[in-house]
């Protein structure tokens, strides 16, 4: 480390004061190191203070909660006594994100394979760009597109699912109403997390050692066999962490869910029925009418969301850290 610093190249000092900081260069270096390290520490401080502030307000809020914060099926902090709980929100958040994952991950892997192995070489880069554009669309626009365009279009699909798959229980539609359901939210979230899952998977697939693929081809494997035998095993951990990054996005999505879902404080596995709620959606919907305690209660639910996304993202990063090159941050 020391051998690369420029100060070693200056004439050797006569005294023992090796790092005395006499020249302006050294002083400048010190200031600059201080500034850049300071910003690094600032990032850590921001994370720490997010956790601290949210926890503080959340404790204030939960201490006034007359119901059980974890199991109450209601959100009424303005009531007398104030009662609110996150059970419905946790359920809705997890279920809608799982639906999104189930839809998005296979499709995203397919798109990633398409771009890395199937598309004509000259088309691959523009196609990758088109998928990245999906990520550039603001979530509120997904929201109004979902609410005003997708929901009416999904009506038919819902009827069809109900008609033929009602026996699965989850696709049984027991309530009449437009498709402002957790299932629709899941589809919309799937579209929104496609780009990040795709781009991280694509990066991983492109890093498969060329030799492995060529060896498989030389043995007479078809393209699919090459992918199954050399690409997918190599890319598995990358795909897993890409999916978890996508999951992190889906968990915290606010506006798209808030515009599409018609919320209710019920837990139902009939996914096609309108109703349910997610953490972020509930915050967006209840904020306007919230008083001091209401805000603290919403902050408490936000803290749970924060911890949830922190765990998911941290796990994804730990998996991906084994292969440093793949960072999804630019997706």
């Amino acid at each position: 480390m020391a051998s690369t610093t420029p100060t070693d190249l200056t004439p050797p000092p006569t005294g023992p004061a090796l790092d005395g900081g006499k020249s302006t260069g050294r002083l400048g270096d010190k200031i600059f190191i201080g500034l850049s390290r300071g910003s690094g520490i600032l990032v850590l401080l921001i994370m720490a203070s997010i956790a601290a502030f949210l926890t503080y307000r959340a404790v204030l809020g939960i201490s006034k909660d007359e119901g059980n914060f974890l199991t109450t099926f209601d959100w009424n902090p303005a009531g007398d006594p104030p009662v609110f709980g996150i059970a419905v929100l946790l359920f809705g958040t997890v279920v809608s994100s799982i639906i999104a994952m189930v839809i998005a991950v296979p499709i995203a892997v397919g798109i990633a394979l398409f771009i890395s192995h199937y598309a004509p070489r000259r088309l691959a880069a523009p196609l990758a760009y088109v998928v990245d554009l999906l990520a550039a669309v603001p979530s509120i626009i997904y929201g109004i597109w979902g609410a005003l365009f997708l929901v009416p279009y999904l009506e038919g699909l819902n009827l069809w699912l109900d008609q033929f798959f009602a026996w699965t229980y989850v696709f049984e539609k027991t309530e009449v109403g437009v498709a402002r359901s957790l299932f629709t939210v899941g589809i919309l979230l799937a579209i929104m997390i496609l780009p990040i899952v795709t781009s991280v998977s694509r990066e991983v697939f492109l890093q498969v050692p060329r030799m492995n693929e060529e060896a498989a081809l030389a043995l007479g494997a078809t393209r699919w066999e090459v992918i199954r035998m050399s690409v997918l095993p190599f890319g598995r951990s990358g795909v897993i962490s890409a999916s978890m990054l996508g999951l992190g996005r889906a968990l915290g999505e606010t506006m798209a869910v808030a515009t599409v879902l018609s919320p209710s404080f019920l837990i139902s596995l009939h996914l096609l029925n309108p109703g349910g709620g997610t953490f972020a959606q509930n915050i967006a919907a209840k904020f306007d009418e919230a008083d001091q305690l209401g805000r603290d209660a919403l902050i408490a639910s936000g803290l749970v969301l924060f911890i949830l996304t922190l765990l998911v993202n941290g796990a994804a990063r730990l998996i991906i850290a084994r292969r440093k090159e793949y960072s999804g941050a630019n997706a």
Partner: protein, 359 residues
């Protein structure tokens, strides 16, 4: 070539007839197009016959038929392995088309519905005195708000992000650098509403009033990790020879970084910053919590409520009348155009300024 004779019958047992050893039967190159045409025709036919209204169903049926038809035909004409290969190929194509459809539909809907209310008046007037249910009014106050909030967020996050990236690439070693790297990664995943709640709790604590600045700070929290990541990657692309040459001339390290490393990577850094701006410009949740929104023009981001484009869309959507939907779509069109132009310009800069040593 002899192995083809041996494996031929084994791989394709249903064709007992005499097989040519050199060229087993194969489909022509245009076969996938043919399959696609046939299955779309069949899909539309079946859907019409069944009386389905939703185009989504039509598409699904056609896609399913495409996969089936190509698998069956290929396994009949060629062999099982080829058929599986074809199946994978068609599935992969279907995946890609499935992803492009929503993008095209979203852009089409936004443009076609957005142009209705979008005109010069819309861009230059606020909503002052306009009842939500009636037509009229505009988006000027929201554009002012968005530009100021995003500008402030950029002013805060670019120096912090840049310096953090410099620390990680040029100085960072040991536990602190590892921790910063990890938490920057985790920070990219913070939901925007949580960033908003964080500043809300600060506001509650110190009894601050909502203002554009508060929203900008929340946006900065979302922007910093993106700037750090992209800058870091660009700095890593700067060849070490440049640093060594500068250091060998006796230039202090900090001047090397400021005068050599950063200018070399400037194109990429600019791209990263612009992409980050494009991302935060569409954030609604923090604005909703921290800036509150107003119908009036407030050009001072440090005092009083402001509006912003995404918040305006949300507001107009909630009013729920035909006129307000028109306004929402028009504002969406403005926002999407802003974001897309930023994206295109950023990627243009990236291509134009790409380091020659790049991957």
């Amino acid at each position: 070539m002899s192995h083809a004779v041996v494996s031929g019958p084994k791989a394709a047992p249903p064709s007992p007839g005499p097989r040519r050893s050199l060229n087993s039967r194969s489909l022509p190159r245009w076969a996938p197009l043919g399959f696609a045409a046939v299955s779309v025709l069949l899909g539309v036919g079946i859907s019409l016959a069944a009386g389905w209204e939703s185009r989504v169903q039509w598409g699904l049926v056609s896609a399913l038929l495409f996969v089936l038809v190509s698998y069956v035909v290929t396994s009949a004409v060629e062999n099982r392995r080829q058929a599986t290969d074809r199946l994978a190929t068609s599935l992969v194509w279907v995946c890609f088309i499935l992803a492009v459809i929503p993008l095209l539909s979203l852009i089409w809907v936004t443009v076609s519905r957005g142009v209705k209310a979008l005109d010069g008046y819309f861009l230059t007037h606020s909503m002052a005195g306009v009842p939500g249910f009636e037509a009229g009014g505009g988006v000027y106050h929201a554009i002012v708000g968005t530009l100021e909030q995003v500008g402030l967020a950029t002013l805060v996050s670019v120096p912090v992000g840049l310096l953090t990236a410099v620390y990680l690439v040029e100085y960072g070693k040991g536990a602190l650098a590892k921790a910063v790297t990890f938490f920057v990664d985790v920070m990219t995943g913070i939901p925007s509403i949580v960033a908003g709640l964080f500043l809300l709790s600060i506001m509650l604590m110190f009894d601050l009033q909502p203002s554009g600045l508060m929203g900008a700070l929340a946006l900065a929290i979302l922007m910093i990790p993106v700037v750090v990541r992209s800058t870091e990657e660009m700095l890593k692309l700067v060849p070490n020879e440049l640093r060594e040459a500068s250091l060998a001339l006796g230039v202090p390290k900090w001047r090397t970084i400021v005068k050599v490393v950063i200018p070399t990577a400037l194109g990429g850094i600019t791209t990263g910053v612009m992409l980050a701006i494009a991302r935060i410009a569409g954030e609604t949740a923090p604005i909703m919590l921290l800036v509150f929104g107003t119908q009036l023009i407030n050009a001072n981001p440090f005092d009083g409520a402001q509006s912003s484009l995404p918040f305006y869309i949300w507001e107009q959507y909630r009013v729920g009348s035909e006129a307000s939907y028109d306004r929402a779509w028009a504002a969406a069109l403005v926002l999407i155009a802003f974001v897309m132009i930023l994206n295109l310009v950023a990627r243009g800069i990236a291509r134009w300024k790409a380091p020659q040593t790049g991957r």
